[in-house]
Symmetry: D2
Amino acid sequence: MASNFGKVFSITTWGESHGPALGVVLDGCPAGLELNEEDIQKQLDRRRVGQSKVTSPRNEADQVQILSGVFNGLTMGTPISMVIWNKDTDSSKYDNLKDLFRPGHADYSYLAKYGVRDHRGGGRSSGRETVGRVAAGAVARKLLAQVGVEIYGYTKELGGLVAEKIDLEEIERNIVRCPDPEIAPLMVEAILKAKEEKDSLGGIAEILATGVPAGLGEPVFDRLDADIAKGLLSIGATKAIEFGAGFDFARMRGSESNDPFVNQAGKIMTKANKAGGILGGISTGEDILVRLAVKPTSSIAREQTTVNTAGEETKIEVQGRHDPTIIVRLVPVAEAMMALVLADHLLRQRLARVKF
Amino acid sequence: MASNFGKVFSITTWGESHGPALGVVLDGCPAGLELNEEDIQKQLDRRRVGQSKVTSPRNEADQVQILSGVFNGLTMGTPISMVIWNKDTDSSKYDNLKDLFRPGHADYSYLAKYGVRDHRGGGRSSGRETVGRVAAGAVARKLLAQVGVEIYGYTKELGGLVAEKIDLEEIERNIVRCPDPEIAPLMVEAILKAKEEKDSLGGIAEILATGVPAGLGEPVFDRLDADIAKGLLSIGATKAIEFGAGFDFARMRGSESNDPFVNQAGKIMTKANKAGGILGGISTGEDILVRLAVKPTSSIAREQTTVNTAGEETKIEVQGRHDPTIIVRLVPVAEAMMALVLADHLLRQRLARVKF
Amino acid sequence: MASNFGKVFSITTWGESHGPALGVVLDGCPAGLELNEEDIQKQLDRRRVGQSKVTSPRNEADQVQILSGVFNGLTMGTPISMVIWNKDTDSSKYDNLKDLFRPGHADYSYLAKYGVRDHRGGGRSSGRETVGRVAAGAVARKLLAQVGVEIYGYTKELGGLVAEKIDLEEIERNIVRCPDPEIAPLMVEAILKAKEEKDSLGGIAEILATGVPAGLGEPVFDRLDADIAKGLLSIGATKAIEFGAGFDFARMRGSESNDPFVNQAGKIMTKANKAGGILGGISTGEDILVRLAVKPTSSIAREQTTVNTAGEETKIEVQGRHDPTIIVRLVPVAEAMMALVLADHLLRQRLARVKF
Amino acid sequence: MASNFGKVFSITTWGESHGPALGVVLDGCPAGLELNEEDIQKQLDRRRVGQSKVTSPRNEADQVQILSGVFNGLTMGTPISMVIWNKDTDSSKYDNLKDLFRPGHADYSYLAKYGVRDHRGGGRSSGRETVGRVAAGAVARKLLAQVGVEIYGYTKELGGLVAEKIDLEEIERNIVRCPDPEIAPLMVEAILKAKEEKDSLGGIAEILATGVPAGLGEPVFDRLDADIAKGLLSIGATKAIEFGAGFDFARMRGSESNDPFVNQAGKIMTKANKAGGILGGISTGEDILVRLAVKPTSSIAREQTTVNTAGEETKIEVQGRHDPTIIVRLVPVAEAMMALVLADHLLRQRLARVKF
């Protein structure tokens, strides 16, 4: 149950960073959806290593293969199994880490949990696990597109640089996924500088969903925001999330935080969407907006202190081919998780009424 | 599935604000745990209305009744059903709200979802739903105490006032659950002022878990932090969460955010617990620390603008007996959710290895 | 998770035979269904003790109370909590059984599982647990009635006497729920004779569902027949189940067992419905027919040999007020389980296609 | 959720008969179990087509590949993904069936459910889906072996011929998996005769589990027998199941069906294990014995009548390479399902008590 996400539109991912392959089984995609490998590949390419000078030089084509659930270009209602083969696994770089706990990584906590661990590239805790999420997320997006939902993600902040202008068209035009064309080159520069200094940068991603119908989400536990939070914080390196005005709500008064309902051309909306599109855990029909804190890449080339499995303090240098910042490649993963949550709740909404 | 939380130590809550009763069924509590109604009541009393001048004057004893699963003072391994009867339901105050959407509330989104709604006191979206969580959380705490886990919650910030000193002993000594004895009276004052002005205040709660063994949480989706985030953000009025250094991670470099492992008297720990006790989704054996943003109470007595179910703009005055700030009574609820997540993962950890 | 049944239309039952109450929480009933306590009570009365001379003389009104989820006569989409109070619990009859394992009962296996047990009336293993199922099943029936599904159960065989004629009108006209008016009095006689001899009788129940739309059930694991089997065999005292021709299929050839599809007035059906309404785990649109073997009541008044908790062989006499046969009161429980499975799959079918 | 089985030791199978591959993801296998591909292959070979003259001549090596979850010969606690590639898919034989509903098959019910279907070899409804079950079942068996549980399956009855002698050593010595060496050749003969006559045979499989500890299974819904029933009846072509004395219980009196507890050399057991190793849904520590009715292969070469998708009556001849009886190859699948249920409950039993 641990590698499973979503109750109705439900995925199980599998695979380790240096195993033969990674993948996902998507169970619960309705029958009759047009789907082909290009739909998936397009999203995987956005998440791929080696896409630019600000990402890891590991060379993985991340070519997806659909192994089941699709026939004649249509989903069959049966599980969609997708596999991505590992090609460029150079495990030798990890030999010296076998008995060391990398700072900021899951090495120690995994060993504490299981008593054994796959030290090669972090094994299951590697960011490579997310290929399966992105592949399934691409299917979710196709389903959501049927009702007009679109999902956008971008680098809102990186190394202290903040995108002021949010131009959605701009995002994929630069290699840092920054929606502000003036800030984007500064971000690139900051990353390269950090890399040169054998260091890494953190940032803030924003995820936006438009066209979301009102009524998605469940009261009490499976609130749309609670599920989005779980989905997004299940991505490695994320440490905080806020919805709408988020932490700023803590400093408001009710008379400020309350957002009057208004009738906009026949559609009931709030004046300022301070809540980020969700009230009482259920979507209001307005844009959903989420901010996600991403910590700097834990794998840095400079020497650090740590302990080994025998408990002795020692020095460590993390070799390997790492991203100097995670946020650029995390954006498509975060979008995928948002898509998976929304697709799940879109289907669950079909269960809400005796008659629709 | 929507009113269910936890995979192994699992609860289902039920009940509406103005229905005859509310309650919870806890399925998955192991047999042989000492349990009686006082264990539960102690926590419910902390969450109760009318406990002081800063909480709602609604008069509910919130007396719990255990209806099953306990025999001779021991849990039986079977479901523990607990009920709390509503006594002081004055639904007349809500008659005028039947066709109005209260700003900041779930009225509109519920109606959009279900096509029908219980307008009396918010129905299922009411904070009263959380009595069941607190009752079940009290059982979780008893289970956690078996291995030395303790959970503390407090008001870190309220109406702009920040507790600087964190003295856990201080928390229950003042009516705002502030761990800083100098700030507490200022917070009380701020609340009373807001109340007088027919307004309400937001704040930040911190939840701390000590004594948590290393190894709790699952890779990938059911990460301990992801599950805590879902649990805490499933509480009404919460809008953001951060773990350890949280959003500050976004502005760090890897060389700052990485936290060297050290050997402290034979126990492997990190130097500064920047991660808040969780790495790769799995507990490190250090304290878990979470910050939760709470918006101001949406029900305020001053006039607001809104629309009615016919889509016409109108004025609204929300009567009823409301808390001028939610955070004071939310703290025990947040603690309960933390306890439920930890209890669930404590049991799940028994499944992690072939031999223990 | 253990006391939970159904994935979408999902129930959790709770309660022990001699605890204060028993009940059920139904999560996943769609909003807008007309529902009142009489709908539920009608089914509970059919399952009640003391309804005739062939059932236990324990005196329980089994009056249901709906505690949540219904407002103004309509379901709200939120959990429906229902409680039935125990009134006539005479636990003294069980004092002498505290350290004995009753033959045919779960006393030993419960103790082996939990290390503790509630010996009063079997605790959780008592047939009284099924009141919650019948209460929730009554809601399922109301939902199913919206699409024309009706469920019938009857005593097909009892103490070797077989109902040859199946007249559905006849079932509730006699106290043994036998659809054959000529066999019914013989069954009554057989029960009374067994009772007089301090013994009990087994039998076979048939459960029939009519009006089931084609397409319910899932491929592979959650087949409609697999789920019905689980539901029905989760009722205490059941030991075998068959669908359609059942065990007789084992002696057929493919040319006999295959059932040609035919076009009956525009509806595709099979010639003889040998499969019992399900092919490949999915309903065909024909009647679903199931046969269920029910063992004789394990509690019999005559002396038996057994061992005690110390492992010593001893004699036992099971006092208490028991049914001389289980099947009469099991029929409404089996109907309820059938209804719950069908309601769950009726809703799940809404998830099967991109467009309906 | 539909292609998922097991709550803790949990599998998701995927794949169609004529797609590129089939497989399974096993989530919840504890870390530290020795596992290699030969463990899996051994069981797959027992289920393979083309193993003898009584099985289908389709030529599939069914070579398993473990893609994740195993490192250095040990399970890692992470999902174990296994794939089996389809090699010998001759879809042309199915072209003429595209618009026909094969009698006894799921063609019509799948189309009624999904509105689309993969007609090639039955798609997802094909018996080939079970390779994933057998692969995962092999892992379950390794886990069960740790505590001494062994599982045996055999052909108890076939085409009216009944194995009288149950010699477990004999089972794999003959090609029909009959435990009676005198009956085995008669069964072979009967199959070949049916095949010659373009027909097929049904039968009864028995599944036996030895060494099962007392205490497995849950009260109420997830009873061990209910879960075994669901698991076994989720295998295509099964139509009935009985536990222990099964349907014979219906004709017994309580004084016969009750099975006195006895102390056998310090172990509490029943005299005759009439219940088949399960009382109140929980294992007693005795052998679990189940009988499963298997219908004749639906695909037979002789001409049959049916209707097409336009609803017109027509003739059909099912070409393809089919087993003249299903039971021989179903036995290892049924064993696998038994193993999966027991492994799940073996782990779940770790959750039953506060202290073990």
